[in-house]
């Protein structure tokens, strides 16, 4: 049994990849991708029931049981809306897990730090296991931890942008600040972004569009499974320090003398 697991509050996961379920062409492709990614924790949104549509095959029927569902508060602009959405999610899905998102505007989808802190405080007090989607601001991340969030999820770059980690140095600082899991959330474009995140000390990576928007989502899901495993292994193994000049890897002793020019 693998002893290296991800611990979020009382929950324990072998996989360090969290996968979003949105924007797949169909349920089948979503299921195959989620399966291939090796994830145990998938995100879902909370929305009004479409009263006119068929009531079959809700995402709960498709994914529930097999995976732990992580409801989000995506689309909420205020702490009040986010708290209400979290409470609805808890009632609907019978889970205390919540991916807390409070965004500032539609163009950037960046977190509204002020509202985020207010919502996080309320939800922690209400007994939620809060995983907070955060700016890559070390001070904000530390505040979220101090409030009692079970995980802090700094963004690499804006949601869906595929720009990777725009400020890896902040991630290094955040790593030093946090004892709760640091999970990269948003901005991942391809496998190397996930490797870098794990090498920087992230405990896990959360992504959606990078898989659902890939030409071959199932193949990309596999790439991310390997990337997260690889990055984690490298982080634990400890990389060599960077140096400006070369250092020979082959031994210097026992070298043949240079041939003289004729």
């Amino acid at each position: 049994m693998n002893e290296d697991f991800l611990q979020v509050g009382p929950y324990r996961f072998q996989s360090r990849l969290l996968v979003g379920t949105a924007r797949f062409a169909n349920y089948q492709l979503m299921l195959e991708s989620v399966q291939e990614s090796g994830t145990e924790l998938v995100t879902v949104a909370i929305r009004r029931v479409d009263l006119a549509a068929s009531k079959d095959f809700g995402v709960l029927d498709v994914l529930g049981g097999q995976y732990t569902l992580l409801p989000n508060t995506a689309g909420c602009f205020t702490a009040r809306d986010a708290v209400f959405t979290a409470q609805l999610a808890r009632e609907a899905l019978e889970t205390d897990l919540i991916k807390l998102e409070v965004i500032a505007d539609d163009q950037t989808l960046l977190p509204d730090s002020e509202q985020l802190l207010i919502a996080a405080r309320e939800l922690v007090a209400d007994g939620f296991v809060v995983m907070a989607y955060s700016n890559d601001d070390p001070v904000l991340c530390r505040k979220l931890q101090d409030i009692g969030c079970a995980a802090v999820m700094p963004l690499g770059s804006p949601i869906g942008s595929g720009m990777g980690i725009r400020n890896p140095y902040n991630f290094q600082i955040i790593r030093e600040f946090l004892e709760v899991p640091m999970i990269l959330d948003a901005g991942v474009g391809t496998a190397s972004d996930a490797v870098l995140a794990m090498e920087l000390g992230c405990d896990a990576v959360l992504l959606n569009t990078a898989i659902s928007g890939a030409k071959d989502p199932v193949a990309m899901a596999r790439a991310f499974r390997l990337a997260v495993e690889s990055g984690r292994a490298a982080y634990l193994a400890g990389r060599i320090p960077r140096r400006l000049y070369a250092e020979a890897s082959s031994p210097i002793v026992g070298m043949l003398p240079s041939l003289e020019e004729s």
């Binding site: 979003g20 379920t21 949105a22 924007r23 797949f24 979503m30 995100t43 879902v44 949104a45 909370i46 929305r47 009004r48 029931v49 009263l51 009531k55 809700g58 995402v59 709960l60 029927d61 529930g64 569902l69 409801p71 989000n72 995506a74 209400f84 409470q87 609805l88 999610a89 009632e91 609907a92 899905l93 949601i159 959606n208 569009t209």
Partner: protein, 69 residues
Amino acid sequence: MNIQVNGQQQQFPNESNLKVTDLLAGFELKEQRGIAVAINDRIIPKSQWPQTQLADGDIIEIIRATQGG
């Protein structure tokens, strides 16, 4: 009486004595797992659905989990 469900106005007979469970049954949601209901921004726990009565002017939200990132 008029109530609003997920943003749509719905009409019911005044003497209908409508409970949350009746409303859900009307939308074929009675047996559905993964649903939450709020009346006027107050969440109604599942255990209270059978006895919670709806009143004229109520604003009702019925939500579920859907695909999300």
